[in-house]
């Protein structure tokens, strides 16, 4: 690929640039998100703690309703009623977002935290050309940038993301799904966001376009030291590009660790069942694991470990007491009573 000047490097450095690669960019502590419904309070995210590190791609997996998308929204403080963040701490680059004003949050969204969703058409204005999206985004946040400079920056970005510059004057509907996702990334990068939350970004894409998009995410991470939270049910996609993997079940974080460890030495019985249920084109066996039961209601979650009614290894204690989220290896942690004895200590 022709070398194109890094459009982000030319910009004034973002305030988080003093964070070195690998330092904690976003620290989440005991995050709890509830939804008030007629049936009762749904604990969509229940006391989740997670440190997201500068420059990493962290894959967040789990099945429908496990709370992964809610967690992603909570990180941008975009939970709307009937939902609300009912507890926990959100520290982004040292700033307490629970205390941030709405105005400050608007500034951060886009400028520091970018978003890519499954359906880009719902995020793009069908009546605005791509160039208008980009220049408006840039000039809204940076009022001193001239029209020409904004256009210049937009063109460089678009070219970097593999979209032909001529197409910058086209409208969203004239682009394919894969190209629209690239435009979403361009919008995130137009304002030097250093953290991108991508919620099911490839779910609507065909497999080759998906692979191209995942490759692009990897390149951008390497080029800009971007931090990416990849939220998806597509476990193959997570395996392809994630440094670390987090697994959620019924609102709880049940396992976290380096991708190789979570896939290679899976600890939590739910993660094990989930990963073994994934069809793998690369292996010869033709039996898929069959996980019993279905996820519980979050209005009345089971006592103890929320997975115990489906767990093949459930013990008495699992039915009554909730397991803590503990380290089981230098970089790997899980919430499961199986590992409570002989647990890893530093």
């Amino acid at each position: 690929m022709a070398s194109i000047e890094n459009p982000v490097a030319e910009l004034p450095p973002p305030s988080a640039s003093d964070l070195a690669h690998g330092e904690v960019l976003y620290s989440i502590r005991d995050l709890t998100v509830d939804y008030a419904t007629r049936a009762g309070t749904v604990g969509a995210v229940d006391r989740v703690s997670l440190d997201i590190r500068k420059g990493e791609i962290i894959g967040l997996v789990g099945e429908s309703g496990c709370g992964k998308s809610t967690l992603g929204k909570a990180l941008m403080r975009m939970i709307t009623p009937p939902g609300h963040i009912s507890g926990g701490e959100l520290l982004f680059a040292g700033e307490d977002l629970m205390l941030a004003s709405d105005r400050r949050m608007r500034q951060l969204r886009g400028a520091r935290i970018g978003m890519v969703f499954q359906d880009p058409m719902t995020s793009l204005n069908p009546l605005a050309r791509i160039i208008d999206h980009l220049t408006e985004t840039i000039q809204t946040h940076e009022s001193t940038v001239s029209d020409a400079a904004a256009r210049d920056r937009a063109e460089q970005l678009v070219a970097r993301l593999g979209i032909r510059i001529e197409r910058i004057d086209d409208y969203p509907h004239q682009f394919s799904g894969g190209m629209r996702q690239r435009i979403m990334i361009a919008l995130a990068l137009a304002l030097r966001a250093d953290f991108v939350i991508a919620d099911e970004p490839t779910t609507a894409l065909d497999v080759i376009v998906e692979a191209q998009f995942l490759d692009l995410l990897l390149e951008l991470r390497d080029e800009f030291d971007l931090t990416i939270l990849l939220i998806t049910h597509n476990i193959g996609a997570v395996a392809e590009i994630s440094d670390r993997v987090a697994v959620m079940y019924a609102g709880k974080l049940v396992e976290l660790g380096p991708a190789n460890a979570v896939f290679g030495e899976t600890k939590h019985p739910y993660s094990q069942g989930l990963l073994q249920s994934v069809p793998n084109i690369d292996v010869d066996d033709v039996d898929l694991y069959q996980m019993a039961g279905s996820p519980p209601s979050l209005v009345h979650p089971p006592p103890g470990c929320r997975f115990h009614p489906r767990c093949p290894a459930a013990m008495d204690i699992c039915r009554t007491e909730e397991p803590a989220f503990l380290k089981v290896a230098p970089e790997q942690a899980t919430a499961c009573w199986l590992y409570s004895k002989g647990r890893y200590d530093e």
Binding site: S64, V207, A211, H233, I235, E240, N260, G273, S277, P279
Partner: protein
């Protein structure tokens, strides 16, 4: 079953072609002098499915795979070519004959919520096709048949689910209901169009397992349409890969997966995400995206994206499906890998 019946493929598709005319504005149609553009959704597709076999039909959006499914079911009329079910050409059938034929072939679509009437109970939804196709059954016989079928798809106890509405059960259970409704007329052929695409992975594996066991239990034949190559491995005997309306490769599943011949098949297989972080992609990805089927590229339709295309051949001559690697029934349409241009060394002539 006579000898002939056993040898006649259940599905025989020959030269199947479906073009959809493109709607144009009034001025544009004046300017083009009445010339009509067509979306060439399906172009000269040929395959057979034997009784008891599962043929996978895979490809990206816009490849024409779902259109083939609808043509096989007689839900669309082909522009050219024919579909024969058990030797009977659907084209020649009158309304009444086609209706009787439909009893023998059923369909399962992707979205069970869209396939089920929210105001019908599960029992009503499943017995509905039986009322149409099995009018001789008394209502108690029909009810027994519904309950038996519910049990067969794992909705047990069947009585408990009979009076429930679609919104009262989970997505995976809804898809089981759609499968039960397809089975109620005891069809021979089921066209399953992305039957598990909406489900979560753990539910996907249960549904795949169910489809495999039902196939044995009810002597079914499947046309399994999917964009997800990884799942085909668990159910299909043979697979056909479609690109821009054409089958570019077809053969026994293991053969095609282990020894893919067409560069598009190779790319598609290589792009499938593998749930193993140590895995590295074996083939480079093709450039760009699937082109517009209104004016498909000349010659081989894949040539503009193909890593090994040779100028003067691939952009000029349209390749035909030819036998590949001397494996029976493994065909691919690539000049460089089969047929006349085999002497060309694809690595030397590859252009990037």
């Amino acid at each position: 079953m006579s000898e002939q019946e056993r040898n006649t493929p259940l599905v025989e598709v020959g030269g199947l072609t479906k073009w959809f005319p493109v709607q144009k504005g009034f001025i544009a149609s004046l300017l083009s002098h009445g010339q009509i553009d067509n979306v060439r959704a399906v172009d000269d597709v040929n395959f057979t499915i034997q009784r008891g076999e599962v043929l996978g039909l895979a490809g990206e959006s816009g490849s024409g795979k779902s259109t083939v499914g609808r043509l096989v079911l007689g839900l669309l009329e082909p522009t050219k070519g024919s579909v024969k079910i058990d030797g009977i050409d659907l084209n020649g059938l009158g309304r009444e004959e086609l209706r009787r034929m439909r009893k023998r072939m059923q369909v399962i679509f992707q979205d069970p919520l869209a396939s089920l009437n929210p105001r019908m109970t599960i029992g009503e939804a499943i017995s509905h096709p039986a009322q149409i196709h099995l009018p001789d059954l008394s209502s108690s016989e029909r009810m027994d048949l519904v309950l038996e079928t519910l049990e067969a798809v794992g909705m047990s106890p069947a009585r408990f689910f009979y009076d429930k509405y679609p919104h009262q059960i989970s997505g995976g259970q809804r898809q089981r209901i759609v499968i039960a409704r397809a089975l109620i007329t005891r069809p021979e052929l089921i066209v399953a169009d992305e039957p598990i695409a909406m489900a979560d992975v753990s539910v996907q594996s249960l549904l795949l397992e169910l489809m495999v066991s039902l196939k044995e239990k009810f002597d079914l034949t499947y046309l399994f349409i999917t964009h997800d190559l990884a799942t085909t491995k668990y159910i299909c005997d043979r697979i056909a890969i479609m690109y821009l309306g054409e089958i570019v490769e077809i053969g026994p599943l293991n053969e095609v997966f282990k020894n893919p011949q067409h560069p598009y098949t190779r790319a598609l297989l290589a792009a499938v995400p593998v749930p193993d972080p140590r895995h590295r992609r074996k083939e480079p990805l093709p450039r760009g995206e699937i082109p517009n089927p209104i004016n498909p590229p000349s010659g081989c339709r894949f040539h503009p994206r193909c890593p090994i295309a040779v100028e003067g051949i691939c952009d000029v001559d349209q390749p035909r499906l030819k036998s590949a690697e001397d494996v029976e029934g493994h065909l691919a349409s690539c000049h460089l890998r089969t047929g006349a241009h085999k002497d060309l060394d694809p690595t030397r002539t590859g252009q990037h």
